[in-house]
């Protein structure tokens, strides 16, 4: 980041905390950026002539006579086709050894899309994973996180979704990504020959944690550029948003804000919503879809981070290890895509909604039967059939290694119904049963 001659330089800092510094300065704008001894910082508070800056790289080693240079503008970013295939840090500086990007400068974290200029999302994103396509269909313009335990293979599933999603651009935002995971993504994208569609902004565990705060805005401003200017379908992957929120709380605690639940800032909902709400479908065909990861601690979804996220996103996906079949499945009970009804049965076959519901209902019956079994009660004949069904259903449809087309998912479900149940037991509209019930063997 080069400086310009006319910029005012200050060298007297009044106060230093873990994430912020304060100094006397005048003529400074709110949210203006500055360099503090070469580290990027942003104005977060001005009282009289005292200006407080949040220092992204952390304040370790910052002396009271540090050089503070104000830029006279808020953060911006250079965008253009050359971004494709490149890896950057949270500031947008190359980390792949390649050259600096030349391109159009855009403001980071710009204004909100007028809701009347949005289009209702309506384009189905097939992923081949039945636990997603059949039960939780994704739609362009949607925002949805994986709620995952840290040891679950969410990065693998995310990369599969990304590669199969047929997006024009995939933007990876890594926050606190381990170096191994960073290399994993790089590798997978490389092997798929998809690097030219992919742009990455990565903050790894080795980088200062406050820097993470920049990553979502970097990704989404870039995404907006391609979706608005080039009408492209952009898929943004954000992993891990829990680490992003943790960084938020560090900063807000330094600024003496009264913490609310789980020592998160009271503005957590708004802070997260500002990011996720960048997901959009434009009438001209461009779109931004966000698939994120929110890691849970001890599976607790009532913690402020997943809780606020759940209130913002359009559903959530859960992975679970199904011990009965020994595979990781997309949990049909807790996962939910809120936008699925915009496409299922409309962009997919007519029987999709009812088949989906019926199968989940039967899977629920199986889970009741399992509880009975665990409590030492006898099972009815129906209970036993549901258990058999559940195994098949897990193995042939819910497992994340399934990769088939939606019609085949539906046909598979009908076959399983036929194998384990009577027509009246599945509770599906009669005309659909008449049409799709496999007629080789009644019961």
């Amino acid at each position: 980041m080069e400086t310009q001659a006319f910029q005012k330089i200050h060298t007297k800092i009044n106060e230093i905390t873990k994430a912020t510094i304060s100094l006397n300065a005048s003529g400074v704008g709110n949210e203006e950026i500055a360099l503090v001894n070469g580290r990027l910082a942003q104005v977060v508070k001005i009282i009289g002539n005292e200006v407080t800056l949040q220092v992204y790289g952390g304040t370790e080693g910052i002396p009271t006579d540090a050089e503070v240079i104000f830029f006279g503008r808020s953060a911006n970013l250079k965008v253009g086709d050359e971004l494709s295939g490149r890896f950057f840090n949270a500031y947008g500086e190359p980390i792949d050894g390649g050259p600096e990007v030349e391109g159009e400068e855009i403001e980071v974290g710009g204004p909100t899309v007028n809701p009347v200029r949005r289009l209702q999302p309506s384009e189905f994103i097939p992923t081949g994973i039945a636990g997603i396509d059949l039960n939780n269909a994704l739609v362009t313009g949607q925002k949805i996180p994986f709620f995952a335990d840290p040891d679950q293979p969410y990065n693998q599933v995310m990369s599969m979704v990304a590669l199969r999603a047929q997006a024009d651009k995939i933007i990876l935002g890594g926050m606190g990504l381990t170096n191994d995971d960073y290399l994993y993504y790089k590798n997978v994208f490389d092997n798929a020959g998809a690097l030219d569609r992919i742009i990455s902004f990565v903050n790894t565990t080795e980088d200062p944690s406050v820097e993470r705060l920049l990553v979502p805005d970097m990704c989404l401003s870039t995404a907006e550029h391609f979706a608005v200017e080039k009408n492209q379908k952009v898929l943004v992957l954000l992993t891990d948003m829990t680490l992003f929120a943790d960084a938020l709380s560090i900063v807000s605690n330094r600024m003496d804000q009264i913490p609310s639940k789980d020592s998160m800032p009271g503005s957590l909902y708004s802070d997260l919503a500002r990011i996720y709400e960048k997901a959009v479908q434009f009438p001209e065909g461009g779109s931004i879809t966000i698939v994120a990861v929110t890691t849970l601690s001890g599976g607790d979804i009532t913690h402020a981070i997943p809780d606020n996220t759940g209130y913002i996103t359009e559903g959530q996906l859960f992975l679970r290890h199904d011990t009965d079949v020994g595979k990781v499945i997309v949990d049909p009970f807790r996962s939910l895509s809120r936008l699925k009804q915009l496409v299922i049965g409309k962009k997919t076959r007519e029987d999709h909604p009812q088949v989906m519901n019926a199968a989940i209902r039967l899977f629920a019956d199986a889970s009741n039967a399992k509880t009975k079994l665990e409590n030492g009660f006898d099972l009815t004949e129906y209970d036993r059939r549901t258990l058999e069904f559940a195994k098949d259903y897990s193995e042939k449809l819910l497992a994340i290694d399934v990769n088939i087309e939606v019609d085949e998912m539906l046909d598979t479900a009908w076959r399983l119904f036929n194998k384990h149940f009577k027509r009246t037991e599945v509770s599906v509209k009669k005309d659909l049963v008449d049409k799709y019930w496999p007629n080789d063997s009644e019961e």
């Binding site: 400074v28 704008g29 709110n30 949210e31 203006e32 508070k45 001005i46 009282i47 009289g48 002539n49 808020s74 710009g110 204004p111 909100t112 899309v113 007028n114 809701p115 009347v116 200029r117 949005r118 289009l119 209702q120 313009g141 949607q142 608005v228 804000q257 009264i258 609310s260 639940k261 009271g266 503005s267 909902y269 708004s270 919503a273 997901a279 959009v280 009532t302 913690h303 402020a304 809780d307 759940g310 209130y311 913002i312 359009e314 009970f333 939910l336 809120r338 909604p353 519901n357 209902r361 629920a364 009975k372 009660f377 006898d378 009815t380 004949e381 009246t424 037991e425 509770s427 509209k429």
Partner: protein
């Protein structure tokens, strides 16, 4: 409202996010509107606290780039809305800017657009006559807005009695034309147009009386109408964890409720949900009138990515518009999704001002603020004897889904009906996931409401509804026993009791919001089906073994659900009904 001769000005002295401190050079009023002057725009703000000569203002826009020393101009009035013909079918932001008139894809900072159309001509018919004595809120004339008879009233701000000097003749006028000339008590002439302003935080009280709600507002949603009806002019709230169906339920209400006008405040929730309304409502038909739904709807959108401070304003803007239309003798349904976001906006500001925090860091007076707001709903007798109503239903998004949190608790004190969405029911896809046992409607305790239900639905209706509730409770108890003791650890009767309650659950309570037919159920149909399941409930069945019970009742439920999915009293409906009777005969004792 104090009018000032000299405009007060000020200079910015501090900025913390969207809280800005201003040194003012003259008098400032609490909640006064002011504008921060920027090179190419003026940023609207509201005074929320005054200390000496420092005004603390919340800025309704992004504060990026603001500097100490920037000029602020005070407007001399509180946040006001423009009331007049042309509000219907509009999409406003929280400050009543017309979103459709904003240019470009993005909401550029400081852009303000007119709430009303000043060019459009409306057909006016006079109501008041020369020499009539009138007071604020009285009807002077009427224009047709879309299809709705829109009353032109004596402005609500007018105090005292007035004599009508003249009223415009029948004809076409714009909203800024003079529609009447009034004489005040001193004989001074005052001109009245079709437009008036009103401060949103002040209730409009131009009515004679506000009785308790005594009629039911039909919503077409069985779990509300049958189980816990909401009174016309009543209040209700829908708390529930994320994903439990608050928004789907509110959208269903907005599509189906028997109201003249629907006002939806999208308050700090998803933009895509508002877009859904933008997209569907101009297409969907209002089954009662054949008109498009959008023709009776106004949307106030402050989605979660729009400025936080304007979120608080948005619910007040919506309520004030509702009060304006109520004064015309109309039946308004006001919906707000989610009131928790409004409370959170209050919390953010309160924290920035370093006020002493109450529970969960919400402001201390949260309960008072919420109950003040709910109390603006109501059924009213206007001065001319006509009636109007605002029924208000808000959603609440409790942190962690735990109902023991400040916003839910404060709302519980203010709202009279309670539709608690249960995570368990949502997880098992028993939609709408309203918990039939925890939820209540206080209106059922009003004798005048019970009389109304008896007269309008049937003498036995309240008794049947009670029976339904008892049966559900008994079913739950039976299921608990079965779970503890095991299927064959209890008498077969327990299974029958449980499954009879399942019939009621599946057929009456559960309703598919996305099925064209099932989504909306008329009261006539609700009555028909309730009687049907009560007949089954009162029937004695013969079973040897519990396994037969389960299988049998699944068939019964399946048959009844097919009925729910087919057109009421169609041939197919009666066919399913006949088949059902046969199934019943199989096991009848």
């Amino acid at each position: 409202m104090s009018k000032k001769d000299n405009v007060t000005k000020g200079k910015i002295t501090g900025i913390i996010a969207n809280l800005v401190m201003v040194e003012a050079d003259g008098p400032v009023q609490q909640n006064e509107i002011c504008y921060i002057v920027q090179e190419d725009s003026r940023l609207m703000s509201e005074v929320i606290k005054v200390m000496g000569t420092t005004a603390y203002i919340q800025v309704f826009e992004s504060t990026r780039g603001l500097k100490v020393g920037d000029i602020v101009e005070f407007a001399g009035h509180m946040l006001e809305v423009n009331l007049g013909p042309g509000i219907l079918s509009r999409n406003y932001d929280g400050l009543q800017n017309d979103l459709d008139r904003m240019e470009g894809i993005f909401l550029e900072r400081g852009s303000q657009t007119d709430a009303l159309d000043h060019e459009k001509k409306y057909d006016f018919k006079p109501i008041a006559k020369k020499d009539d004595t009138v007071i604020a809120g009285d009807w002077l004339g009427e224009v047709t807005e879309n299809w709705l008879p829109h009353k032109i009233m004596v402005p609500f701000k007018f105090k005292g009695k007035f004599t009508v000097k003249s009223v415009a003749e029948e004809g076409e006028y714009t909203i800024d034309d003079t529609m009447a000339v009034l004489l005040d008590e001193d004989g001074k002439e005052i001109e009245v147009t079709m437009v008036q302003q009103w401060p949103v935080k002040v209730p409009i009280k131009n009515y004679r009386e506000k009785p308790r709600p005594f009629k039911m507002l039909e919503t077409g949603i069985r779990i509300i109408d049958t189980l816990n009806p909401i009174g016309e002019g009543g209040t209700g709230f829908i708390p529930g964890p994320f994903g439990s169906g608050k928004t789907v339920l509110q959208h269903a209400l907005s599509k189906q409720a028997e109201a003249d006008m629907i006002i939806m405040a999208a308050c700090g929730e998803r933009a895509n949900e508002v877009v859904e309304i933008f997209t569907e409502f101009p297409e969907l038909e209002d089954p009662r009138t054949g008109r498009k739904l959008m023709e009776r709807t106004t949307i106030i959108a402050n989605t979660s990515n729009m400025p936080v401070a304007a979120r608080e304003a948005s619910v007040y803007t919506a309520m004030t518009i509702a009060e304006y239309y109520r004064a015309m003798g109309l039946k308004i349904l006001l919906l707000a999704d989610s009131t928790s976001r409004w409370a959170q906006a209050l919390r953010e500001m309160s924290n920035r001002m370093e006020e002493l925090p109450g529970p969960d860091a919400y402001p201390m007076d949260l309960t008072a603020i919420i109950s003040m707001f709910y109390s603006r709903a109501g059924y009213v007798y206007l001065n001319n004897g006509e009636t109007g109503s605002i029924t208000f239903i808000g959603t609440v998004s409790p942190a962690g889904g735990n109902l023991k949190e400040p916003v839910t608790e404060a709302t519980k004190k203010a709202a009279r009906s309670f539709y608690a969405l249960s995570q368990d029911r949502a997880d098992s896809k028993r939609y709408p996931a309203v918990d039939p046992i925890d939820s209540y409607s206080k209106y059922l305790e009003y004798p005048e409401m019970v009389d109304y239900l008896k007269q309008n639905i049937g003498d036995k209706w309240p008794a049947h509804v009670q029976l339904l509730k008892d049966a559900l409770l008994r079913g739950r108890e039976a299921s608990e026993q079965i779970n503890i003791l095991g299927d064959d650890g209890v008498p077969v009767d327990y299974h029958i009791t449980f499954w009879k309650s399942e019939v009621m659950d599946f057929v009456v309570l559960q309703q598919d919001a996305f099925d064209e037919i099932d989504a909306q159920t008329s009261i006539e149909r609700q009555k028909y089906m309730l009687e049907k399941v009560i007949d089954i409930y009162n029937t004695n069945f013969n079973f040897e073994h519990f396994e037969e019970v389960n299988e049998y009742f699944k068939r019964v439920i399946d048959q009844l659900r097919q009925m729910n999915y087919t057109e009421f009293k169609s041939d197919q409906f009666h066919q399913f009904e006949k088949d059902l009777e046969q199934i019943i005969e199989e096991r009848k004792a």
